[in-house]
């Protein structure tokens, strides 16, 4: 019996000598060292860049409470103690100490790294499109929602239901899952508008408007959706550092009123110039958009540079102001602005800055920048940026957290990173969307995360009804307001 007990003890307990203490911090995938995280985020799983025989992690707070775990490869934490630890340490730091056993050097202990727990929770869900970066023809894709407090991902709509059709440009008003706009391209094309439990399928191509509504942004009241109307063409670069461009041959901005099934526009938004990527201010009284001087395409594609502009909007009457203001003259700086997104508290506008054009997702130089609306200054979100692409981004409902697409991992597939804005308006170090086995998961995936959008709760709808709407030839026609 005693021998059995001895054997059991020997087999279960790791024989550890005193580890060699290192001054360096561990090199991890994903790099979670020093990141700021929301108190409701799912456990951060990670692994050492250099494989060890055994790894042990201890997460400790200032009160001396600890979470410990041991693994061969991927360090992970159980959900309940992780959540408890985070909730007890809001607005404070956790200290993670990692010990690793290497074949050659035995046990070593890295210098601890911190995880700062914000007091502000992030919206509970992230909605994105998963699509292979396949350009002009499309096969498998879908819109998915991920519960950020756990690892659960569920499909909202997959195109297995409507084979051969492309789905994109999902949008929610003020991060609410109650209403949604989703555009479908292909034989069954149209725009699905979800308003609470009501879902309808509309054809947004009104007489007098050149093309379908593409990039959407909801008015904070939920009464309007602003869209860009783009006629695009896809071209490919010759040199290896660049790959593909999607350029506008023409583009305008229109506002759709779902209640009246009516498109509203202004001659100031329907010029010969290119207007695209519209968004509303949080008070709903200003419409921001990117605007470039007209250029002949494809010859002058590198001369297309978008400024950040605005025009006033009266939600009561649904009318526009009579003047377009240029907030940032990016063209004069030899730069181009896309995806201007105002923070819900109205203090900032986050945008993507690239050298030219609007297809920043394939521009390695594309970075995230911020415009301070009060001080009228712009600056890069240095901590969030990388040498590779940072492009699409969106805000969480409380204006602290933002999510953005980046190709920093392999230069090919976009991955969602989350970061917060500190009190000075700068970004904290971003963290990769947590999954159970990050390296395997992201390495094995052939899909890009596209258009990540936070929503406060789970999007629910009747998939059967949506399928019926999609497969029926009926599309509610919209009209152009006089």
């Amino acid at each position: 019996m005693a021998l059995f007990a001895l054997m059991l003890t020997g087999s279960c307990q790791e024989k550890t000598s005193t580890p060699k203490i290192l001054e360096e911090k561990p090199s991890l995938f994903p790099d979670y060292c020093g990141v700021t995280i929301p108190p409701n985020i799912a456990p951060l799983h990670f692994q050492l860049d250099h494989p060890a025989e055994r790894v042990r992690a201890q997460v400790k707070d200032r009160q001396g409470n600890t979470l410990t775990t041991t693994a061969k490869e991927v360090i992970g934490f159980k959900s309940a103690p992780w959540k408890k630890m985070l909730l007890e340490n809001m607005d404070d730091s956790l200290f993670v100490t990692l010990q690793a056993k290497y074949k050659d050097s035995g046990w070593v202990e890295y210098a601890p790294f911190t995880l700062y727990i914000s007091a502000v929770p992030v919206d509970n869900y992230l909605v994105y499109r998963l699509i292979a970066p396949g350009y002009e023809v499309f096969s498998k894709m879908g819109i998915y929602q991920r519960n950020l407090t756990s690892f659960k991902e569920t499909p909202i709509l997959e195109n297995t239901l409507v084979p051969g059709n492309c789905m994109n440009c999902h949008s929610f008003p003020s991060n609410s899952p109650e209403d949604m706009s989703l555009h479908i391209r292909g034989a069954l094309g149209g725009t699905i508008i979800k308003k609470g439990y009501q879902t309808e399928m509309i054809n947004t191509k009104a007489d007098g408007i050149e093309g379908n509504c593409v990039y959407p942004y909801w008015h904070p009241s939920g009464e309007y959706i602003v869209y860009s109307v783009n006629q695009t063409v896809q071209v490919f670069h010759a040199i290896q550092d660049k790959r593909v461009e999607v350029v506008d041959l023409a583009s305008d901005v229109v506002v759709y009123h779902p209640g009246r099934k009516e498109i509203i526009t202004s001659p100031l938004l329907q010029t010969e110039d290119f207007e695209t990527f519209p968004s509303f201010s949080p008070d709903g009284k200003t419409l921001y958009f990117s605007s470039s001087k007209f250029q002949k395409i494809p010859e002058n594609y590198q001369e297309v540079r978008y400024n950040l502009c605005s025009i006033s909007f009266d939600p009561e009457s649904g009318t526009f102001g009579n003047r377009v203001d240029t907030l940032i003259d990016a063209a004069s700086m030899g730069k181009s602005i896309s995806f201007a997104k105002p923070s819900p508290n109205g203090e900032y506008i986050m945008f993507t800055l690239s050298d030219y054009g609007n297809f920043s997702i394939w521009h390695k130089e594309a970075d995230l920048w911020m415009y301070n609306l009060k001080e009228k200054t712009m600056y890069p979100l240095t901590e969030a940026n990388s040498p590779d692409v940072e492009s699409y981004h969106s805000w969480s409902s409380e204006s602290t957290w933002f999510v953005f697409s980046s190709r920093r991992m392999d230069g090919l597939y976009t991955r969602p990173f989350i970061a917060s804005i500190d009190k000075n308006g700068n970004s904290t170090k971003p963290f990769l969307l947590p999954v159970r086995n990050p390296l395997r998961f992201y390495s094995f995936s052939f899909f890009s995360y596209n258009v990540p959008e936070f929503v406060t709760d789970k999007v629910t709808w009747n998939v059967g009804k949506v399928e019926k709407l999609l497969t029926s030839p009926k599309r509610q026609k919209v009209t152009l307001s006089n």
Binding site: V137, V235, G411
Partner: protein, 526 residues
């Protein structure tokens, strides 16, 4: 007491095993080899979980696991033969339990296997579909051993489970379950009818959960329409494709000569081989030319998935890595499960050549999780690594943009960057020739060919004569082009013969059918 098996009982099995193995090993190996290239089985738990979100996850998982052994012709032939034999044994056992004589059951079981055998002639029929049938057969046989009450009531939990594990296997199970129940006179008919309705309606009830169309819900794991036809033309094209994959260009030309296929995909590989062996300028019209579609396979929503998968080969061999990457990614998307070991390898190669190592690492990391390709980067044959060095020197350095189907601009960009890119020059010249664009050919020839400093290949000489004749060039100018005297004489003879034929092709076919002149006058684009 053991019973003796008669020859009549086992002859069907012997015929099935020998016939199936010999057929798939000797006469139809390339479909299976291609199927292996269009899967990517990773030995990882995370990969396993990618299957469980749709029906038939178990048979799809095992099917893909086994398909990786199709990497050699014997692998595919053995696995299919084994699957057919298992199906035969299970069918036979079922028929015997239904009361048929053993020898009759043996022959009927063979007849039931024949459609399955024929289905495997299709490039898009997966092994998982056969496995779904096998599991259904196994389940129904297990049921036949149950006492009547269990036989009746266990159907209800078994049917959904079977659907989740095998997809359409549920229907075979239901059918055989009902037949056996009917023979055994179990239960009442309305109960059997109720269960039939449950079985038929279950996929419809569940399809919203799996986000499938009604057709997909009933046919999973099948993803393409059934075809019970052996496609020997496609088998020949796949043989050429396989030789091209091995870099065995002389075999591609040998097969092209042997098969004489009038098909744009066969022409595509033939032209690729002509280009790689530097014979394009001499031998272009020795083979069937369907027009410019024999040089590049268009990638568009109307293209077949096979054409999209093949389309990267030409861009890769010419050094246009951006277009090769574009085509390879599209090929990956359009492979049946959106992952392909062949295209993963190609994407790894492309990114190694462009020295984009983070992207290359992604694809190499995937290959590292496979059984047969984990050592692929270290085992690249010397001639392939040498080809890579040559290819790297062809990658464009001149920046420009082009539409994906603007082949002329793509080829001109390659030549502007590297005027010594002989395959690109051949392709550009032949693209103009196959488009019957004489000014385009002449412009390209005058701009780029002198740099090549080679003798004028026969096809180019023929085209030059047409161009010079049309512009009424002087003999002095014609001399500058160094066109062989024999070609000039033949051109004069052709011109006379053409006038004599009065617009008819038949009198010229035998003597001039393999010249540019004949193509120019008589061949219509396909």
């Amino acid at each position: 007491m053991t019973r003796k098996f008669t020859i009549r009982e086992w002859l069907p099995a012997v015929l099935l095993v020998t016939g199936s193995f010999l057929f798939f090993f000797f006469f139809y190996p390339y479909h299976n080899l291609f199927k292996e290239q269009m899967t990517l089985f990773l030995h990882s738990g995370d990969y396993f979980f990618t299957f469980i979100g749709k029906p038939a996850w178990l048979t799809r998982y095992i099917g893909e696991f086994l398909t990786q052994f199709y990497i050699v012709p014997a692998g595919g032939a053995l696995i299919l033969t084994g699957a057919f034999l298992a199906a035969w044994i299970l069918f036979r056992s079922y028929l015997i339990r239904c009361g048929l004589q053993r020898s009759i059951a043996s022959w009927i079981a063979l007849l039931l296997i024949i459609p399955e055998f024929l289905f495997h002639g299709s490039l898009y029929y997966p092994l998982s579909s056969t496995l779904s049938g096998l599991m259904a057969l196994g389940a129904v046989l297990a049921f036949t051993g149950l006492r009547p009450s269990l036989y009746k009531w266990l159907f209800l939990p078994a049917a959904p489970l079977l659907y989740y594990l095998t997809g359409h296997g549920l229907f075979l199970f239901t059918f055989l379950w009902l037949v056996y129940g009917f023979i055994r006179k179990d239960g009442k008919r309305y109960y059997a009818l109720l269960l039939l309705l449950i079985s038929l309606s279950f996929p419809l009830l569940m399809r919203s959960v799996f986000q499938l169309t009604p057709k997909q819900a009933y046919t999973y794991p099948l993803k393409a329409p059934l075809s019970a036809r052996m496609d020997f033309t496609l088998e020949k094209i796949l043989a050429m494709d396989y030789a091209a994959q091995q870099g065995n260009w002389t075999r591609v030309l040998f097969l092209a000569q042997k098969y004489q296929l009038n098909n744009s995909m066969a022409a595509y590989y033939t032209n690729l081989a002509l280009s790689q062996t530097r014979l394009m300028g001499d031998w272009l019209f020795q083979f069937h030319q369907p027009g410019p579609g024999g040089l590049f396979l268009p990638v568009s929503p109307e293209s077949t998935s096979l054409a999209i998968v093949f389309s990267n080969e030409v861009f890769f061999s010419l050094g246009d890595m951006n277009m090769a990457q574009h085509s390879a990614m599209l090929g990956m998307i359009f492979s049946q499960d959106h992952r392909s070991v062949r295209l993963t390898k190609r994407l790894a190669e492309i990114h190694l050549l462009t020295e984009d190592y983070p992207a290359a690492d992604k694809y190499l990391g995937l290959l590292d999780k496979t059984l047969f390709y984990r050592r692929w980067p270290n085992e690249l044959p010397e001639h392939i690594t040498l080809e890579h060095t040559i290819l790297r020197e062809k990658i464009p350095s001149v920046e420009a943009i082009r539409h994906s189907a603007d082949y002329t601009t793509s080829l001109e960009i390659l030549l502007q960057s590297h005027p010594d890119n002989a395959p690109a020059l051949d392709y550009l010249l032949c693209f103009h020739l196959l488009n019957k664009d004489i000014p385009g050919f002449r412009r390209t020839y005058d701009t780029w060919y002198p740099a090549a400093k080679n003798k004028v290949p026969e096809v180019y000489a023929q085209a030059l004569l047409v161009s010079l004749y049309r512009e009424g060039a002087s003999s002095k100018i014609i001399e500058q082009y160094d066109i062989p005297a024999a070609t000039v004489s033949r051109f004069i003879e052709y011109t006379k013969a053409f006038e004599k034929a009065g617009g008819m092709s038949a009198p010229l076919q035998e003597e001039y059918g393999k010249t540019f002149w004949f193509y120019y006058h008589f061949i219509l684009f396909e």
